[in-house]
């Protein structure tokens, strides 16, 4: 199974929310709030996008 590469998508953003295609390969919308990106995605025909808040990848996680 090939990993899903979201490097190019994340490179364009420093903060906020993203709506991606359900396979996480394409950016559909971005915005300051989750609600905003869901509204934008719906307007573009994607009712159930994948959503994420732009992560802080300068740190390594140990949980």
């Amino acid at each position: 199974m090939t990993p899903v590469d979201i490097r190019k998508i994340l490179k364009k953003h420093k903060a906020g929310w993203l709506a991606l295609s359900r396979d996480n390969t394409k950016e559909i919308a971005n915005g300051k709030t989750l609600h905003e990106v869901l509204v934008k995605a719906k307007a573009k025909g994607e009712e159930n996008p994948s959503v994420l808040k732009v992560p802080n990848l300068n740190n390594t996680y140990v949980g």
Partner: protein, 147 residues
């Protein structure tokens, strides 16, 4: 159900480095409703509780008036306030199989995730994922398998 790892880049000491992370989509919805939000979150066997950004709870219209307030502690002692509510989880890898749907609890952050945390959307832990499925296996960096 099989999910691919997610490939990201981080910048330790300003040098690009690839990381394969167990980030997958699990649907979250208010019980008895169909509106579902699909956060791309971290599958974390060390997390005792699933933790989800508060905006998702707000978007789903969850009523937090009766929610249990709790403080969770992470590695290093960072503390985060959460409101624990019962939600419906949907596991669907998009390959045509019948989705796995169950109800369990999740903690919705009272505020955004700590800025220092690499995952800012959701962490899927024991309560909310591992205790509700038969198996979660990690075949790094090929796939995350949930049965």
């Amino acid at each position: 159900m099989d999910f691919p790892y997610t490939l990201v880049t981080d910048w330790p000491k300003h040098q690009a480095r690839q990381r394969y992370l167990p980030w997958i989509n699990i649907g979250i919805r208010k019980p008895g409703t169909i509106k579902t939000v699909w956060p791309l979150g971290l599958v974390d066997s060390r997390a005792e509780l699933t933790v989800i950004d508060h905006e998702i709870g707000k978007e789903l219209g969850l009523n937090f008036k009766k929610a249990i307030k709790n403080t969770i502690t992470g590695f290093g002692g960072a503390k985060v306030q959460v409101l624990i509510a019962e939600v419906e989880f949907v596991i669907d890898d998009g390959r045509g199989k019948e989705p796995t749907v169950y109800q369990d609890f999740a903690g919705f952050t009272a505020n955004p995730f700590p800025a220092s945390h690499p995952q800012q959307t959701a962490i899927f832990g024991t309560v909310g994922l591992f205790r509700k499925v038969n198996e979660v296996s990690f075949e790094y960096p090929r796939r995350i398998h949930i049965k």
